[in-house]
Assembly symmetry: D2
């Protein structure tokens, strides 16, 4: 039984609290948040303790592991302090918006042996993971082309966009990790940014993009992103190989289809957003974290993954702004 | 090159005329219809001759084969006269509404060697035929349960219903033939008739039905019929066997799917009715007829099939009226 | 918070234990099973108490509600004793195999006000329930024909079949309830039994069947059952109405599709069996039970439903054996 | 009735001959091919005349229209000669491999009023055209992102690749036209070429590619190409707009689906190659050509379309070779 503390009682903190509470090998021991009664209120739901200062988490001898769900600028300070205190850490993405900060954190972490894992939840989605396993098992031969469609149901508030680090660091970062999950090292990046939303354009950010990544293997990944999608949270991928192809389709709440004089076999809108769409992924991610902690095996994602994804995001940002192709490594 | 005459210039006559005209080994030579300028007008479209009297067709030495598309009461007289005149015959369904008439015709035909084929078009539908072939090839092991969904887009005029012989002889007859095509001899029939349409109810006929057929093999076929269907012409079947199942789904004009805030992956309505849905089947049926005539091989459907399907229809009619299960020979 | 006891620590008992433990408003307080350490072992997993005598459950003042998952012959004694002790009861299906026993129990229960609910889990399946709601909301107009496909992945052991009460009481009972859920009162039953499995045939039972039910409304339900299905647990239904149709399709663990030189868009086998397929249904069923208990509202299923489904099962058994149509009520 | 001559009796000439012969308003009058008995043999199948010299076609007063299906280097000489002789022309793609030749031809054609149409067959595919019409009708709001997947079943012979002008001029040219069909003017091109096939690599050409096109409207098209695909001829597109999305899926010969212990709802491989996949498109293309000729209306594709597609192909070739983004006009 792992005693877990959560730092940050916001939306993602609630997701983790529920997931931890339902996990047979984990116990939600402590919730920490400096604002109002956020920590107290969330902790009360699950019979956990609460606090306002992160220091209390790091100093609490009962705590085995910390889930860092604080605002992005605090991710590195919190994860380093927790790791130095000997706690296992599961840190939400993006680890930070500046690659130099992340590289510095990586240097510090490389000297620490406690398990530190990063929340690239797509890797734990049952459908994406099943495609990855089937590729690894040789079901479609050598992987040649990966196509990722990733569209959010609706754009976030402009105030969020302004501090988000831009679409590539904030949204595409997941797809960059997925591309690396399937293809390994990326050596070349090209991005086209689109401005379909006037309010986001005014912030200097894009709200849609198409990114092409060439992997060291010669395979190519294509990512199509959009901050809004009328049909719901559009999350698909297809992996095309020498001997076949695998597709992970959108998820709906039910299997119901409707036929009438206008439509036939119509399905319902896709699950609305990441909390619903990736509910299983959060659960499986937590299991993978707990298993690594308890068995002392490597975590399935590491800070090296966070560094690599962020480097691609920086390259994409530059490519989209300058209209050039960026080479990595 | 087979010189073909068509008797009957109605809706089905037009289908056959177009199919014959487009067939590389057939020539539309003559169209016969006693009413107005129906024959002349249809013949003119394809550069064929026309006449008003069926006798002229039977006596025309140029004619190799006759397609009988006259009103149902004339099917037997026309097919017998054509066969006796040495013409090959392709006769539309239903051959007749009274089983004793059909059995008498069968006796006469059994003494004649000219090829006589019956228009059970479902057998020639590419999807149904592919399922049949896959079953025969053992792809799903021993066939155990066959489910046929067959719904028309809209009920025919009440005046047609009155002379149709009833839903089982007029509409389900195709599905009875399909059941025999897959399962062979049928030994037990149960039918439930439904009255969903008040106007049809007044004629004494049903406008929807569910029929259960037990085959000599022990397999069971279920037929779900309805004279109307909001989504179009609903024509599906599934064959379930020991080792798997095969499905023939509805056909649409395109592969287009639509997603928006109300529906996702919605397809367009099914092809409207039999002329569109079974256009390929009519073409392949004609090819099968021509091949049998030219090679002197047996036709893929015979009057024995017409007799067998009609016997099931009579049993279903009785079962639906009396609420009993009917056993066949 | 409802304190719940479970009687019966077998397969279904484990399902309910997990579901209760994960439910935010329920607490697994007590597990009862007379055999070996079954109760103790299951209780230990969830920190509950255990006992061997059902009497202890009924006399325990802490217990608010009892889930009856004991062997079928004990269902009625257990549910009556629990109800008389003032406990709310959720009883597994089938309530009993003999209609007279159930009717007697119904008479007793009619005089007791404590909530007693029956585990017809299909009603709580999200897809079936969504179809039901869409029908009730008029999305497809008046419901005309309901088609239920229900096939188990593999036949149960012959020893189970012998005491199961036969396929209609044991397996089809769920589909009879589904038919009533959609269509209300059933007035006419016809069943064809099939013997595809020699070992089950020797027990005098069928292992496959097609049942046709006519509702008082004039709608007809068709049920296609099979004790085995190569593709997994095949659980579908389609509701066809005047203005459209609704389909609930099979469920898979992921959305993955595979294309290669042999197949395209191939999906994985259906979820294996009822524990996986209806996991959500058991959870929602429990919520519905708890809500009825806590609010004092009627339970969504009652002993009247159990009586009605069992009467249909008896009629189907008789119809399949005699080859006649049975009228109810 | 339009009297049509076909120049070139190769594979595409056979397609057009069959399509012309089956068209109610067209007559195949003449087939021209200089090699062996190719013209004579093809003409004989349809009762047409044949010749070996293209001059005979241009000088034949009976000929109303010419379909140019000769080798690519002869397309411009043949289409110009035919147009100057007053014949309507339908010219196969690619019009030529060198943009300066095509621009010169365009200058000449601009001074001639006879209808000259180019064989961009995707525009006439019923599914692609239906998506285009739905977009134009506003079904998905403003079009934002177009994704085209286009994979051939198998690479052409290396000898063909050597003279093909490269993957972008030979294969992607269709997709460039499709992108223009949906998005209008393209202003920016980025291409990544892949070398998955060693034999093609030795010719200096790519055998797979991902191309990103930015339209003047701000919309972006992504094209994923591959010279081979294990599942057949993979031809899909999705158009994503502000209010929804439309998909054109792959086409199969039947609607059959197979379920067994390994796969469920598996469909058969995609139609093999362009002759089968675009059979309807060739037919509709011919109808559009005939209608334009007979009504004197503009042809749906013009040499301006050929010029525009070829310019994109040249830009893609340069982008893939240099790793830069190319801006157009």
């Amino acid at each position: 039984m792992l005693n877990i503390a959560i730092i940050g009682a916001g939306r993602i903190g609630h997701v983790h609290a529920r997931t931890v509470a339902a996990h047979p090998q984990a116990r939600l021991a402590l919730v920490c948040d400096p604002f109002g009664d956020a920590a107290e209120s969330l902790a009360a739901e699950y019979g956990a303790r609460s606090c306002k200062e992160a220091e209390e988490v790091f100093n609490d001898p009962e705590i085995d592991a910390v889930i860092v769900g604080s605002p992005t600028p605090l991710h590195i300070p919190h994860l380093l302090a927790a790791a130095k205190a000997g706690k296992a850490v599961l840190c939400e993405k993006p680890i930070a918006l500046d690659i130099t900060d992340v590289e510095a954190a990586k240097d510090e972490l490389d000297a620490i042996t406690t398990p530190v894992m990063f929340g690239f939840n797509r890797r734990f989605d049952p459908s994406f993971a099943a495609v990855r396993e089937a590729v690894a098992a040789g079901r479609i031969g050598e992987l040649e082309q990966l196509t990722i469609i990733s569209r959010d149901p609706a754009a976030p508030p402009v105030d969020y966009v302004k501090v988000s680090g831009g679409i590539f660091r904030d949204m595409t970062i997941h797809d960059f990790d997925t591309a690396r999950f399937f293809l390994g090292d990326i050596v070349e990046v090209h991005a086209v940014g689109q401005n379909l939303d006037e309010a986001i354009k005014e912030t200097g950010d894009f709200d849609a993009a198409v990114v092409t990544l060439r992997a060291a293997s010669g395979a190519v990944a294509t990512i199509v992103n959009n901050r809004h999608c009328a049909s719901g949270y559009d999350q698909r991928l297809e992996a095309s190989g020498r001997d076949g192809a695998l597709f992970a389709e959108n998820v709906r709440a039910t299997t119901v289809r409707l036929s009438n004089a206008e439509v036939t076999d119509a399905q319902e809108p896709y699950l609305d957003f990441f909390l619903e769409r990736y509910a299983d992924a959060y659960r499986i991610e937590l299991s993978a974290f707990i298993e690594a902690v308890e068995k002392g095996t490597p975590t399935p994602t590491t800070i090296a993954d966070a560094v690599a994804a962020l480097r691609i995001a920086e390259a994409a940002t530059e490519s989209a702004r300058t209209g050039t192709v960026i080479r990595l490594g």
